[in-house]
Amino acid sequence: MNDLDLVAGLRAGLPEPPSARLAVGRARLTAAIRSGNKPVTARSRRMRVNRTAVAICLGAVAAAAAAALVLTGGPGAVPSQHLTAGSSRTVVTAAWTVREDANGTVTIYLREYANPAGLQQTLRADGVNAIVRPMPSHTATGPRGLPGSRKLPLPTVTSCYYATTNNAPPAVQRAVVTIVFQDFPTGRGGAMRVATFVIHPHAMPPGSALFLPYGTHSLAPPINGYPRVKALWPVVLKNNTVPACVPVIK
């Protein structure tokens, strides 16, 4: 991910505007056109009524978000299960949650690095040609324990560098992957902000693959008993050829 992707990810989780709100805006525009281009302000009685409708709609959205939060289970212990709730299908394991919504979007929430094969299989069942790979993350390697090595520095593999020659174009990356930050309670009044990946499988070009490398952040303390996860922004590859992991050593 480059600096432009970082900017693209900022506030990327904002939802689409509710249709009621768009309808209010359209009514304002149409009224202004009919009245000879005079702006119609939001102070009229009609606007106040419509804003009430918008508020109700927003309330409904908030309720739906809360329901999704319960469904994903947050960071608490969740037994492995396969749920069907309303118009979405959700697979929940202790390590990760994958939810497929009725519109085809797939949301991935990673808690810890475990069962990557199951995650890959679940994503593929949801129409995402996923390639899940472990990512070395603060994994100590090197000469520790070898004779005569005690004075040598201990190299630490922090992550991978992946060549970008097989990446799909940036516009495809932006169309397929967005990041949404969600807050989860951790118990005892604490909370944490977690990045979830929202995948739009319909935007993936034919033959492409979604490359998802992640691992356990072994040097960071766990939260609520769960190890922290370190993940790269999922990358859309042109095909199933996985770029080699070149260890980044600090």
Binding site: V24, L29, S159, F181, M192, L232
Partner: protein
């Protein structure tokens, strides 16, 4: 943009010269994306009025539209840039608040906030600080590309500047961001779960 019926934005605008209410079709096509873009920049509060002002300004200027441009998005976002520019202080204040406190007032309106102590990722905070400090023209180019998904040529159209200027501004901004984020690995976004 071309609708399923094959009528381009340019054709809709041309038709609206004789049938003014046809212009609402342009709103139907682009308002949702415009709303989201404005909310990302200015927060939820002024979004209704800003979007309304953009489309009304577009309507009043429709006679001057370059009808060789089938897609009206660059034109609309160029108008939006001028309207958003009137709210520059609001935009910078929100970005600085995010940089300083980690609380993103823009996102707060759309998420159930569990705990006020939750802070945004350090990387986001630093990035927000960089965006707040950018010259207005540079920030405009960057966000039209990163948030509105316009191409370099479309940004040039929107802001009425040469494509070369778009490239040079973007290059300068990206270097500023890279320099500011030096020491942090920008490839690692999901690792820090703040408590």
């Amino acid at each position: 943009m071309t609708a399923p019926d094959g009528e381009t934005d340019a054709a809709v605008i041309r038709r609206s010269r004789h049938d003014p209410e046809a212009f609402a079709l342009l709103y139907d096509r682009h308002a949702a994306a415009m709303y989201r873009y404005v909310v990302r920049r200015l927060g939820d509060g002024p979004a209704d009025d800003v979007v309304a002002e953009c489309f009304l300004a577009a309507f009043t200027r429709r006679d001057r539209y370059d009808f060789s441009r089938a897609d009206a998005r660059p034109w609309l976002y160029g108008i939006a840039a001028r309207v958003i520019g009137k709210h520059r202080r609001t935009e910078v204040r929100l970005l600085r608040a995010l940089a300083r406190t980690g609380a993103d007032l823009v996102a707060e309106g759309h998420a159930d906030r569990v705990d006020s102590r939750v802070t945004a990722a350090a990387l986001q905070r630093r990035l927000a600080g960089v965006l707040a400090g950018l010259p207005e023209g540079d920030r405009e180019v960057l966000l039209l590309i990163a948030w509105a998904d316009l191409s370099y040529a479309e940004v040039a159209d929107a802001l009425a500047i040469p494509v070369g200027t778009v490239r040079s501004r973007l290059s300068r901004v990206r270097k500023t961001i890279r320099d500011a984020l030096a020491g942090q690995d920008p490839t690692l976004l999901a690792e820090e779960l703040y408590s």
